[in-house]
């Protein structure tokens, strides 16, 4: 049972780390807490599901690209102008939740079904210490870790990544040396929403997606990011894995009803004891 719990927890945490990564990228660079990210990701998940019968690759590409564009445009026309007018975290919280309402509305209005499951190929099974795990779950975990490594490498070794770092560390100086910071913000927001979409696709394939799943995924992604130290990518990933374990074991020991109660209770405790998260935040809310 313990091994089962660990493996399930690792996989849940791995998938969860994708929206967490999205939150961390957006918040780390723009300084804006975007609570719509989960709903936008699930909107992309529903789009992917709709086109899945035509071609799997194309369907995923459509979902991820649309989410990237939504994130990009949202940042460009709404969030950056409000930020430049001096909007605070509370205002962004309200605005992004309202944006979430709009995208949840799109799912409710246009999806032919309120509850979907994405039928992606299963890639067989793998045996770990006598415990059989679906190959697709291992793929999801490796994909999440791979994405983290790629983002970290891109941040340190590419021009775009360096402009991200410069913008997040000193906005005024970044503007002074000619970095188009509003473009950097929009790009980061697009990447964040695209990551949330990939997370939603994995989630929808392993479990299922409902019209309101976006809020669960988004809030969960956000609180996991808070526990890790919001904006801190490594902290977010470690936190996602720990939270995945907590969800897995509390589900086994106390039943599914208590899973989220325990999870949110731990997060509130972390907020009380260490408000900047387990690895500290590079920015403060």
């Amino acid at each position: 049972m313990i091994l089962n719990g660990i493996i399930t927890g690792l996989i849940m945490g791995g998938i969860l780390s994708l929206p967490v990564l999205g939150v961390a990228v957006i918040y780390g660079i723009t300084g804006i807490p975007n609570f719509a990210i989960g709903v936008i990701g699930v909107f992309g998940g529903f789009l992917t599901w709709y086109f899945l019968s035509f071609n799997m690759g194309l369907a995923i590409l459509i979902g991820v690209t649309v989410c990237f564009l939504v994130g990009y445009i949202l940042q460009r026309i709404l969030l950056t102008p409000i930020s430049e007018r001096g909007g605070d975290s509370t205002l962004f919280f309200i605005i992004t939740v309202s944006v979430g309402f709009v995208f949840e509305g799109f799912i409710r209005a246009f999806s032919p079904r309120p509850n979907i499951s994405l039928a992606l190929p299963r890639i067989g099974t793998i045996n770990i210490a006598g415990f059989t795990v679906e190959g697709f779950k291992i793929f999801a975990l490796i994909f999440a870790i791979g994405t983290l490594v790629i983002i970290r490498l891109a941040e340190e070794h590419t021009e775009v990544g360096k402009s991200w770092q410069a913008t997040s560390q000193n906005l005024k100086l970044a503007k002074f040396v000619g970095i188009k910071t509003s473009q950097v913000f929009s790009f980061a927001s697009g990447i964040g929403c695209a990551l949330a979409c990939v997370g939603a696709i994995f989630w929808g394939s392993l479990y299922n997606l409902t019209t309101s799943s976006g809020w669960d995924l988004g809030f969960l992604g956000f609180i996991v990011a808070v526990v890790g130290g919001i904006g801190n990518i490594w902290g977010g990933i470690i936190s996602a894995l720990i939270m995945g374990m907590v969800m897995s074991f509390s589900g086994y020991l106390l039943g599914g009803m208590w899973q989220s109660v325990i999870l949110y209770f731990i997060v509130i405790l972390v907020l009380i004891i260490a408000p900047k998260g387990i690895l500290g935040s590079e920015r403060s809310l």
Binding site: I94, I95, S98, G105, R108, A109, V226, M257, P275, L285
Partner: protein, 309 residues
């Protein structure tokens, strides 16, 4: 003096439905519902907008008042009135405890802790299903069984007006003025030697109690509560009431409550697109009318007045 007239006007407007008692029906039901949310809206207006305390757990304090009343009355057989007041006191304790526990943190972390509590609470209600009924909910006849629905409706109107008047009165006292200072500049208020902690606890105590009391009244009026009624969106709707209506004017939350509660009713013909319209309207109001509806309506009315030579 202008403030005083505005306050009296606001309370009188709230008492208007007493003049034409409606004989049940849809309009009366919705009016009562608007008033019950207005109690929560004024609690948010007082705590968040007038005292500057970043609290988002209004659905939690409301739920504690509602569930506490039912559990104490039905399971523990306490007298109804005692159950209502004890539940409101429990809601106060939760609000104050969240504030004290997060007092080391600053700003948005406090908002997050209370907001997460608002997410956690419906899950807790579901997990405690044998006592709370979870998503299936609990039925409660409470005050209705004693005085009837019509009298309860009048009581809701009267109590909402009284609570609003209480908030206005508090804002005019020394404590209210210090809370305004705290909301404008917390550090400066501390620097001039004022014990801000004491006043913040006072603000949480008053708002928590009123919100819990409002929750108890809610369950008596609706006769039913389930975890669906206290979802995290309830806290957002409550918060939107003073925000959309306009927090700087005394009657702002009235417009906000009408907007937030009546908008879904008006959007029934396009129910399929309800959330899209709802979200877009919120974004437009917040971006284009950051002061809320009331000051802009005031400006518009000012422009429409005939100008004398």
């Amino acid at each position: 003096m202008k403030d005083r007239y505005e306050q009296i006007g606001t309370v009188l407007i709230l008492l208007l439905p007493l003049l034409f008692v409606l004989r049940g029906g849809y309009v009366q039901e919705v009016t009562g519902y608007v008033y019950l949310f207005l109690i929560q809206g004024y609690a948010a207006w007082f705590l968040f907008f007038k005292s500057g305390q970043p609290f988002f757990g209004y659905s939690v304090t409301m739920a504690i008042g509602a569930y506490g009343t039912i559990v104490l009355t039905i399971i523990y057989k306490w007298p109804l009135l005692a159950s209502i007041f004890i539940s409101a006191a429990m809601a106060t304790m939760v609000g104050v405890l969240i504030f004290l526990a997060t007092s080391r943190a600053r700003g948005f972390y406090v908002s997050m802790a209370s907001f997460l509590l608002a997410i956690l609470f419906p899950n807790l209600i579901d997990a405690l299903q044998p006592i709370t009924g979870g998503r299936s909910g609990l039925y409660f006849s409470g005050i209705t069984a004693i005085i009837g629905y019509e009298a309860l409706y009048l009581l809701v109107i009267f109590l909402t007006a009284a609570i609003t008047a209480l908030f206005f009165w508090i804002m005019g006292t020394k404590a209210g003025k210090i809370l305004t200072l705290i909301s404008e500049n917390d550090q400066l208020t501390q620097a001039v030697g004022i014990n801000t902690l004491k006043y913040k606890i006072f603000a949480y105590t008053v708002a928590g109690f009123i919100s819990g009391f409002g929750g108890a009244l809610y369950v008596n009026y609706t006769g039913f509560i389930s975890s669906v009624d206290i979802e995290v969106f309830t806290t957002l709707y409550i918060f939107f009431i003073p925000l959309i209506g306009g927090s700087r004017v005394f009657y702002g939350p009235i417009l906000g409550a009408l907007f937030v509660i009546l908008m879904p009713e008006l959007l029934v013909p396009v129910e399929r697109y309800f959330r899209i319209f709802f979200g877009l309207i919120f974004i437009l109001v917040i971006v284009l009318l950051p002061e809320g509806l009331a000051p802009n309506i005031q400006k518009l009315l000012g422009k429409m007045k005939p100008k004398h030579a």
